[in-house]
């Protein structure tokens, strides 16, 4: 190409490409916007989205498996054994509840949303929900307490357990004493 042809070619091409670009932007002026007006319109979360943890405490058997699975130790559980005269009922999955759960705390500020706590749960009581708007002004509000046991109930359960344990220990001691009091059976004769 000669210099003159290049010169005019460049001018033509620059005008042509400007026209092409302007046509595209003009078309987009009438394309509906893709913006979602967030607080008014929300995107539906995917079915298996992992967001805020929720514990259905009625189903919890206090097995501590979620707490053990947690890589960041954000779940802390305390349990109190129930005594023989107490019936804590069964979970919705049919498991017998044997432990009181006076403390089931999740520090959601620590949570890394890995979901590893969800899989080991035998009663499927700890789940990931699709709630993602739970910002707080105070960090302490991020410590979620799921247990519904009151101080009184905890104290009652503890005293009952203590009593039961004492009784059991006494029984055991009595049994041991009884066993010691009885004469030893004669050793079997050698054939």
């Amino acid at each position: 190409m000669t210099a003159v042809a290049t010169y005019f070619g460049n001018i033509f091409r620059s005008l042509y490409t400007v026209a092409v670009g302007m046509r595209i932007t003009f078309k987009h002026l009438f394309v509906p916007a893709v913006t979602l007006q967030y607080p008014d319109v929300k995107l539906k979360m995917p079915e298996r989205a992992r967001n805020r943890l929720y514990v259905n405490i009625d189903d919890c058997i206090g097995c501590d498996q979620c707490s053990l699975a947690c890589p960041v130790d954000c779940i802390s559980i305390e349990t109190i054994k129930s005594t023989a005269d107490q019936d804590l009922g069964v979970t919705s999955t049919g498991h017998k509840k044997r432990l009181h759960v006076p403390k089931f705390d999740i520090d959601i500020g620590k949570c890394c949303y890995c979901g590893l706590c969800v899989y080991p749960c035998p009663t499927e009581c700890i789940v990931m929900t699709d709630v993602y708007e739970f910002a707080e002004f105070d960090r302490h509000n991020l410590l979620y307490k799921f247990s519904r046991m009151t101080e009184g109930e905890i104290g009652e359960a503890e005293t009952k357990l203590k009593k039961a344990e004492e009784e059991a220990a006494a029984k055991k001691a009595a049994a041991a004493a009884a066993a010691a009091a009885q004469p030893k059976p004669e050793p079997p004769k050698a054939p």
């Binding site: 670009g21 302007m22 932007t25 003009f26 987009h28 002026l29 394309v31 916007a33």
Partner: protein
């Protein structure tokens, strides 16, 4: 005749009309710019301040009004404070010669267009002053670029204005508009009210001239693709980096007002100014204002449209465009138009 108090008051009031207009127009254009920008990118822009965000420009201006006015310690205080006013005065003075309608023109001087070209150079001084007084290397770079660009593009602008002046035979914008009265076919873009054979011969040259005038005016007002003085990426916003609050707003206002000035002048020179495109239909003082502002706003929209389409030119490309493309083409047009008019 010595001026009486009444005549002075009337003059002041009349000369304040464009100021009111600029403020209203700036609000509209700020909103238009953001909305057009957003929709061209399939976004929605302001939605939460009033209906579809119509109150956002007011909010922006309020914010700028109450912002702290900082002046760098090492800046040249006097020049720093003066610069935005110089820029705005340069822009506002240009409004004096724009005939808004057949009965209103700020100053009906014979050298209208010549005055415009002269006074718009004041903007360059203001920008250079602002950049220099900021005592900031990026600001001065921006200002130098701006000065180089505006001075270079003054030549294509002046030449294309000259072509329109050759056809209309007047430098007075009011007379230029009256020359084009009587409908769309009488516009200078289509050869003016001359014999048909002359018009047909003039047609290609007037079209090219108008295109070049529009391109050069984009560079004159520092709009994309010629917005080098305001390079956010490499110059940290350029000459107005150190400005804040009301002074920054003055630069902004001047830029937007400048957009209107160049559009209005291009419209007056080539597209009949306030004259109605339908001859006597819809013509009159009020319709005149409507036509001028309407036509100019179309070009303001075009500037916004181009801004959100094209990327910025490189400095050498900018100079190439001005000196090696626009100027030679205009010399050819100037020669050809002169020849045709003599024939």
């Amino acid at each position: 005749m010595s001026p009486t108090l009444e005549s002075i008051i009337i003059t002041v009031l009349l000369s304040a009309i464009p100021l009111v207009f600029i403020l209203l127009y700036a609000l509209v254009t700020l909103y238009l710019e953001m909305k057009v920008a957003a929709h061209m990118q399939d976004r929605v822009a302001y939605m939460r301040t009033g209906w579809h965000g119509v109150l956002q420009p007011f909010a922006d201006i309020l914010k700028l009004l109450q912002k702290e006015d900082t002046i760098p310690a090492a800046a040249d205080r006097f020049l720093f404070i003066l610069a935005p006013y110089i820029v705005f005065v340069g822009t506002y003075a240009a409004f004096a010669i724009i005939p808004f309608t057949n009965i209103y023109i700020g100053s009906n001087i014979h050298l209208g267009v010549f005055f415009l070209i002269g006074v718009s150079s004041l903007v360059v001084i203001g920008i250079l002053m602002g950049g220099w007084a900021s005592n900031n290397k990026w600001s001065i770079f921006g200002a130098i670029r701006s000065a180089a660009q505006m001075v270079s593009y003054e030549i294509p602008t002046a030449l294309s204005v000259l072509i329109a002046v050759m056809i209309t035979g007047s430098l007075n914008l009011q007379e230029i508009t009256q020359f084009q009265e009587g409908g769309i076919q009488n516009w200078v873009l289509f050869g003016g009210p001359l014999p048909l054979s002359t018009k047909l011969m003039l047609l290609p040259f007037t079209f090219i001239t108008f295109l070049i005038l529009f391109t050069a005016s984009l560079a004159e007002v520092n709009r994309t693709p010629f917005d080098l003085p305001e390079a956010e990426s490499e110059l940290v916003q350029g000459f107005n980096t150190e400005y804040s609050g009301m002074r920054f707003a003055m630069f902004y206002l001047a830029e937007y007002a400048n957009m209107f000035v160049v559009s209005a002048v291009a419209v007056t020179l080539f597209l009949g100014g306030w004259s109605s495109p339908f001859g006597d239909f819809m013509s009159g003082p009020v319709w005149g204002a409507f036509w001028l502002i309407g036509k100019a706003m179309v070009f303001v929209f075009l500037q916004i449209w181009i801004r959100w389409t094209l990327p910025r030119l490189r400095v050498d490309q900018l100079m190439y465009t001005s000196w090696k493309v626009l100027t030679p083409f205009l010399f050819v047009c100037l020669f050809a138009v002169g020849l045709i008019l003599v024939l």
